[in-house]
Amino acid sequence: MTKSVLWAINSHGQVYGLSTAAPYWEKTGVNTEIQDFKCIAAEKSILWSIGSDQQIYIKVLATGIPIRVEESTYENQRYRVFKYGGWTDQLIFSDRYNFSSEDGTQHLRKDGFSLPSPAWKWESDWHIQESTGGQLLGSEGWMFAFDFPRKWHCEQQIKSFVRRRKWIRFRVYTAFDKWVKVPGLGKDFTEEPFISIAVGGQELSGMPSDYLAVWAVTIQGRVFYRQGIAQNNPEGYSWVCVSTAPEVNYIAVGPNGLVWVVTWSGRVLARGGITRENLTGNDWYEVDSPGDPIILVTVGSNAVWALGRDGMVWFRKDVCGVKAGSDRTACIGTGWVQMMTHMAHLSIGPNDQVFGIGRHDRKLYYRTGVTAADLSGKVWRPLEAKPRPVLTNAYSTSSMSSLSARSLSDDESLPNVYGESLDPGIFVEEMFGSPQISTNALRRETLEAPPGGDSCNERDSKLSVNVEQGLTEITENTVTVTTEKSRSKGSFSSDVSDNIINFCETVVSSAEAACATSLQQQCSLSVGSAAADVSSMPHDSAADTSRGGATRESDDFDPAACSLSSQRSRETSLSEHDSSRCSSMTSMDQICGAERVQVADWLTGGQVEDVRWSWVSASACVLEPSAPPDDWFTSGKKKEVKSVKWEAWYRDITRKLRERNNRQKQPFLQYEHAIFKKSWVKKGDMHVWHERNGWMDCKVEFEQLGATQGTSDGTLTCSYSKHRELKHIVMLSHCHRIAIGEITCILRIKDPTKYSVFAVYTPKRTGKGMPLKLATASDKELEEWMKALTMGCRDVRCIKASPSYNAAWSTTDRGDIFVHNMLPHVLQYTREPNSDQLSPSPVVPINFLHVQLMYWYQVAGHMQTVESSSAGVVWGLSYNRTPWFYTGFLCSDEEYKQIDVRNIHIYENQRWNPLTGYSHNYRLPTDRAVWSDESGREQLNKEHIKPPSVHWQWISDWAIDYSQTEGTDKEGWQYATDFPFLYHKRKRMSDTVRRRRWFRKCRLATSGPWQQVESVSLQCISLQTDPPTWLPANSNVAVWAVDLNGNVLCRLGVTKECPQGLSWSHVPADQPFVHISVGGSYRVWGIAKDGSACLRNGVLPQLPNGTCWFQVPPPPHHKLSLVSAGKSTVWALDTVGNLYYRKDVLPIFPEGTTWQWVCAGIQHVSVGPHDQVWAIANLAHWYCCSLPRDQESP
């Protein structure tokens, strides 16, 4: 299931996050700049908050994906014979600046660029771009032309009088996981501090996916909107004052961009007219008051909740976020409903799930039963999740730390922690990741806790002071001195060093932390040399306690403001990767499992006190109303079944069971079986598709015969009556009979007339292009039948639960995943792309008939693409562009929840006529329907389109899609001379038709053997092709990816046991990429946005990132869009579907010589580890595959 996080602030101003995947609140780190916060507004990856100094801070959560911006300037020169005698930067007066933007209008000096904020850093110095549009330029990177602005050439010609070259430089955002101050208003930010902040607008129709609306209110009641926020610019550019309304006190933004505010006097206003064109809206609408002054509102997609001054909860009916920009009623709703509860704070999630803080107990509550049909929900359910437990002594009034003990490798050493710290009462705290320290250094601090009885606040402040001091004084000397000092006190034996207590910020970083743990253990062995800062002081109070008969409860591991920057730990884990391999293999589950065991211990020894919350932000928290995470409500005491899988005894038992069956059963399968399975029959009424007569009623029978020799057999019979028009109607009975063993594939397909349709393929039918198409009355029936048939087929073919490592994977355009277990001698590995279904390929080569015999069966889940590696790792990209990994190899039967979102498109078509202009009414007889699919073949009706299956739900309304590659005009139209044609965004004289695309989002809730890797968005992934036997032992599986901005990423630490890997590592490149492919022997090929190919050199197991890019020009006049590298061959596709083969690729000359054209009309190509090529033809809609081709004659 997609992870998301609920954020909250406790009564001490500390920020906590509760992930849907974790049972504990994790405290976020603070840094020296700011300690506590007043309010927080969370987005998926960015937290906006107001600190105690009333200024705005942001924190960009590290995902491993870099934020990287290219800065560029063009150097222009002119050829002047006189006076200068050649090329010179002395341009003539009509020319552009010496350094300018591409169009020459702006003067951009190289030293004129500055970083937007201290959070940014230059990645590299200025350098020259050496290629353009895939064409290599000379070493100096010049492009030549007759004059500015003309067509540019790569070579100097006689007529070349001007030349230019492009200088580029990248800046990267570095302040991940840190609070960074956003510049305030005016010079003196104390003049007008902020009092309220809200984020939202992610779903605002027509906006790019990284759009974020940030609104804030100042003490003077002015409302500000933050401009220019994008994925590449998390901080935005500037504040814009939105026309001042009556003095505003509180602001809330919904996911659709709807803004509501509350004034000092308790009035509620809504901002009208917020649309794509007008992001700040145009007017304030007064919302009638419920009779009670309001102090707080929170805006969801289709619901608004408010709090009265006395804490009364109010719900606003009939708000509709999608229409709010154009419809006043949708914007302000129709009436208040009193909820008869009192709360102190409220926050609503993007899917209208509501959280509140109790007015008196200050506990968090979740509103259960909030669905689209019942937005007000049922009851408030308290969240029992606790902060990650710590041992607290009697003096701690609150436990606000996220201390966790991790001693994975030696669990039994945990009690030592108790034991060691018991008598001297030393509070041990560790911190690592201080910037000054080298990678294998960690800081260890033994802090003093103030005498007991002091108030908690005081203690906290004191502790943080200590931390600050600790930060500043790191010297080798103090290290040794203090270490010795602590040693002499007997409080710090090497045992302690072995036991690691670290602070961990998020669950996401748990895996890295595991690495770091082992790292720390190594380091701690050499405490003397490591730059550890240890300062220990006796702890009066605890010492007292221990003197007076210390018990376990007197241990005191105290909250301290401390953070583990996951970014840094990632670096750490990276550099120490090999050495920490053993622990890196442990997956999240194991860590969680281990933690839970420990936590049970902690709980018995210490006490966890309830946290009093002051603020909650659910705006980044997407909860499934049907299945909120159990851990949240059961305070983490739930027994975990999953962790069992990692126990030694479990593995032992499974192994022994396998052995038992191999010994006692397998050799004797030819024996008569004691129990015959009875045959059974499933019958049903369906419709069958007939070539000439269309859909006809039929009766379908699926008979599964009893087991004879361990296998079963069955038949599928479909009988129907056919009306034939002779002189009188004769009923002729017809019958399709298919043996189950013949079926090669069963899949659900889309059909223009029927909704629930599936197709049954057999080799013969595949050859003729006529699958048996059956339509059922309902989706439920269809699923039952498909399940029964699939199970029947699998039984016949003796297919076990999980596919082999060498299986071929494919996905249909519905997102269904299919697997073919290859016979070892035919083909190994392939990764598979989109396939369309319908008719099989007529161009299947004759000698490859066995292709039609291949049996494909469906795997649960929903993916757009699936990539597999014969090393036993399979990753998929779902439609919402997040990566998932296949868990079927680890634990075969477990299924996880998966949520996916995709857009359904419909095209609106119009033709121009001289009288009325463009309109729906005037069409040529040959034209497509007003509403159609992209090809125009199919007429659609916007109101009647259904989501792909009953498991899908619409989550938005139809909206115009402006994000087409060719671009659109303001209203989303694209113009062309006629249908179907190339479309362009501006109307020209010759254009007579136009179209625009509408989209509607729908969401699928399904389950399958997939788990999300991380919630990052990627456009392409690729896994290594080589089976592990070809590679050095213990090497990781190479996984490369391209994110939405074209950054190339390499996933570290991916192994068979840990298929999700550990962290992303960014591979810098001068150009954004669109596609990547990892070939044999770690040869990584990529396609840059300009259509050229790039080969990454020097990738080795020890050096997963490689060293440099080598550019390979594309075929002349074509842009490549996709590449696939096999063991020794490289194939590529260009943007119009031509397939190329790279000639002369040799191990010593991996880049090859030229691209050789193979054929056209290919949609996707994939090469396996034995150089077998798989492709999907454009028109044929089915796989055609070729056997390993000879290198010489592709």
Binding site: K639, V644, E672, I675, D893
Partner: protein, 274 residues
């Protein structure tokens, strides 16, 4: 709660090849009858699977002397009400000879050692009674008594017809545990050769909430098992034909490695000396 279907499936699919031979002094035909090979499910009971055996050997014996069939292995009469896998593990596993040579008798029923079976109905009522007993131990019997007659039938027919799904859709309810409703005690039976079986109350969790392990069970019930005996090679602890690690939590064993009768059948055999 029951998440790991693969294990359940592997347990369910356990089979033992059996070679049935008619007792030498019982056949009347001139030539020695053939042996009869059968692959039998470990979880099943002999009366369920031996219909064909009876029919096959009936032709060799005189109808008037044919009494109720009983089975014997190396002089040891086999109790029909023990699951087949348990019988094999207890008597034959240490010899590790496959197929398992079982002698078929139709005469001289050893009344003192065996119960008469009569018909399949007897097996069914025995089976259901055992499930009820196990449920009484686990949940004070509330799950079984909350079920309908139909569900009981389905449990039985699932076992009888070797239908995993059919059986587990019902059995799942018997195996369910929640935080509030844990197993009260583990239904187990410990078998030893020539010893009465051991069945006592045993809590699955210690007072501190830690799960008890197989080792702790044996320590309490049969401490001699864990101490190696000088005169033989020590003892083997077999569950479902394998020796699970002694640190395996008992709750897990009960959930996953119990027989369909919901009991965890543990066989203690002596390790044969090399």
């Amino acid at each position: 709660m029951i998440e790991d279907r693969q294990i359940l499936r592997d347990i369910w699919d356990g089979r033992i090849p059996v070679c049935f031979t008619l007792s030498q002094d019982e056949y009347t035909s001139p030539d020695q009858p053939d042996v009869y090979y059968l692959l039998v499910p470990r979880l099943s009971y002999f009366p369920i699977v031996s219909d064909k055996v009876v029919r096959f050997f009936s032709q060799y014996v005189q109808p008037d002397t044919q009494g109720e069939m009983w089975l014997e292995f190396q002089g040891q009469p086999l109790k029909w009400h023990y699951p087949i896998g348990v019988l094999y593990d207890l008597y034959a596993a240490d010899q590790d000879q496959l197929p398992w040579n079982v002698i078929v008798h139709f005469q001289k029923f050893p009344e003192s050692e065996l119960l008469r079976c009569g018909s399949r109905d007897a097996v069914e009522s025995h089976f259901i009674a055992t499930v009820k007993e196990a449920d009484a131990l686990k949940h004070r019997g509330v799950v079984m008594s909350g079920m309908q007659k139909r569900d009981h039938k389905q449990l039985w027919s699932g076992l009888r017809d070797d239908k995993f799904e059919e059986f587990w859709t019902i059995n799942r309810r018997l195996m369910e545990q929640t935080v509030e409703n844990q197993f009260r005690s583990i239904p187990f039976r410990i078998y030893q050769i020539e010893q009465p079986l051991i069945q006592k109350l045993f809590q699955p969790l210690h007072e501190d909430g830690k799960p008890a392990t197989l080792k702790e069970l044996l320590e309490q019930m049969l401490p001699s098992v864990l101490t190696p005996q000088p005169n033989n090679g020590g003892s083997r602890v077999l569950i479902q034909g394998i020796e699970p690690p002694l640190e395996t939590p008992l709750v897990w064993l009960s959930e996953y490695m119990s027989h369909p009768d919901n009991f965890l059948h543990i066989c203690i055999t002596s390790r044969s000396l090399p």
